[in-house]
Symmetry: C2
Subunit: 402 residues, 2 copies
């Protein structure tokens, strides 16, 4: 009897599906690992400011949930999410302008899982997705598994350049239009209202759902609030949102807001994926929000992130050499830097790490891996001192390599 | 400008992938809904006893984690899981007999997600999976999305009938062997040690990974502890386990224990699926276990579930008509009832619901939807009075329909 002779097990000959074998490992993951080393000032992640997490309030929220709901807080739960949280989300979304019923809301393990459920329900190998150029890397990863192809639309300061959209819709008949309409990851760009309306009109004309991945809209610290795509477009929009940026990302609680007749597909997929989103964090968030804690917390975040963005931009203005452009977002967590064409943010990255400052180079955000001269900077996570010092280090590096 | 005219959006014409369109909705879900109605005694779910959830201890565990780890408890975290929990799981698994390093452990959103990750990494449409007959419905659902086909092996009191295995391996070259080796869901049957060794030998000979879905092994309340497949088979086993049955299922914290060189695939898939398993519950469980709370809690569960199983079986012996057979599991949450061939547990179900008692009929557990004369009974969730009364109602129904 041969047992537990690991050397005889040829795991290297196991037949992994090409969907996974050929899936690119996240370029960002390695950068995040390096950038979390002690002494490195990191603008690389998309991490909220840790010092602002409402830890005590969340602890109290769980205690309060346990007192009220007892064993339900940790028992098996519904694939759609716990009812009080779905009701609360529907009410809040409605109050913000998009009429929504509980039957439109599916609670997910963060926005990433909502993207994944959409990908899973819609994409057959070879299908096209229309995205902004560049776009969120996590969405590309989710779509890549299903072997999607991409047809992309460039952006200017007003978001997707709508003139490019219809031709691509006609030519490639994409299954989905994927957008991050507010304070886009990675560029920080927000789509203007006329563009939103025009995009919706095209989507309705061609009957292509728009997936609006919208985790940042609550964190607007400058400019005017805009109506969401969902509030303008209704059922043609599959809106994705999350508590990750306004409460805490580790809880993994997000949601999808979609036409009830389509939500049944996502529910079915959700069920065979992980049964349901973890219950304690759903109850925790429900209690946290109903205790009136969320709004003041968001106000606090806005103040903090605005100060940090201003500090980053002001330091860039003072120290960056000429010939470098960047976006100045009115909210969210990121800004986007464009170096002169001949420079490669990817090639500079190891040198930046040597100087103990980290960013994410732009390439992985472009489906065709262009944009070598771009980088994404996160301004929410570092301290004030870190922002100033980190930008100075970057400026030094850029000057030496202009 | 046409906006928010939902009646003009033809969501019914959206092109959902056939993988999802043709996915069977869970037959069990409807039964669970009905069986949670007030007054219904339910043997339908796979729910742990709610009165035994260590709610106060979990609340304290979160407080303790927040005191020790601060913002990390709710910040973005690693796709592999938090390091202290992975270390702890590796140590516990090693102590239980299967030498395991941290590099072998991936934390998942419950065992269901671990099954799903395995399915996703291995299955191309049309691939065969070898399973027990019947087998766990949640695994079938996860495999079904990927359009797996099944080659099945019957069971007797000792588990899979090994004589049937090799022929099926040769004929269908399955990608995976899927088993629930301990207190199987749905039958409650446990694979004997000689069968385990024989199965491993075949798996190694044909180099087919065995997925051992093992959520119940810690809840053995009778008979002798057996070595796990992982401890006997090493790298040829992809072991799946969870804290769902021994702490609480709503936390959605499970794990996969696999050869490190294969775990990288699952990690990649995990990342594009939901980034990582929720952090607070990982920390909560880590603190709960390191505080020494888990072992006494498991002992408590064993005592409770044994009493309930005995009560159920004794009541069945006293009240069930002749001609009905059932398993008498030495652990876990379920037992399996076989009615005479001419009877249909599915057809009797509405009548049972009328009598305010619920079970799950056996059909959905058979890949080919046979087994109309079988049913699964859960003995962990109902109260003592509920068990006696519920079994009496079932006995009445069965007598009337023999």
């Amino acid at each position: 009897m041969i047992v537990n002779q690991n050397d005889k097990v040829r795991t290297d000959q196991w037949k992994i599906t090409p969907h996974v074998l050929e899936l690119e490992a996240s370029a960002i993951r390695e950068i995040l690992k390096i950038s979390s080393q002690p002494g490195v000032i990191s603008f690389a992640g998309g991490l909220p400011a840790p010092e602002l997490f409402p830890l005590e309030d969340l602890k109290e929220a769980l205690a309060s949930a346990i007192a009220k709901y007892g064993p339900n807080c940790v028992q098996y739960s519904l694939s759609m999410g716990i009812t009080p949280l779905r009701e609360m989300v529907a009410r809040r979304v409605t109050e913000a302008g998009a009429k929504t019923e509980i039957s439109n809301i599916l609670i997910t393990a963060g926005a990433q899982q909502a993207i994944e459920l959409v990908a899973r329900a819609f994409i057959d190998p070879g299908d096209y997705i229309l995205t902004e150029y560049p776009t969120y890397i996590g969405a590309l990863q989710a779509f890549d598994y299903y072997r999607a192809r991409y047809t992309t639309v460039e952006m200017d300061d007003e978001g997707m350049i709508i003139e490019q959209v219809e031709e691509k819709l006609k030519k490639h008949k994409p299954k989905l239009i994927y957008t991050v309409s507010n304070f886009q990851n990675p560029t920080g760009i927000t789509m203007t209202v006329p563009r939103r309306k025009a995009l919706i009109e095209l989507a309705m004309k061609h009957n292509v759902p728009i997936v609006d991945d919208d985790p940042y809209s609550d964190i607007r610290f400058a400019g005017e609030e805009l109506p969401t795509l969902k509030s303008l477009g209704g059922d043609v929009i599959i809106a994705i949102n999350t508590f990750s940026k306004v409460v805490a990302p580790g809880l993994r609680v997000g949601w999808m807001n979609a036409a009830a007749d389509t939500l049944v597909y996502f529910e079915k997929v959700k069920q065979c994926t992980d049964l349901h989103t973890n219950a304690p964090c759903q109850y925790m968030i429900y209690e946290y929000v109903t205790a009136g804690k969320l709004e003041p917390h968001i106000e606090e975040l806005k103040v903090d992130y605005k100060v940090k963005r201003d500090l980053m931009i002001n330091t860039m203005r003072e120290t960056f050499p000429d010939g470098i452009k960047w976006t100045e977002p009115e909210g969210g967590l990121f800004l986007w830097v464009e170096l002169p064409k001949h420079m490669s943010a990817k090639e500079l990255l190891p040198k930046a790490i040597e100087l103990k400052v980290a960013y994410v180079h732009g390439e992985p955000f472009f489906p065709d891996r262009q944009g070598a001269n771009t980088m994404r900077l996160n301004f929410s996570n570092a301290t004030h001192e870190g922002i100033v010092e980190g930008i100075k280090r970057l400026a030094k590096l850029l000057k030496e390599n202009m």
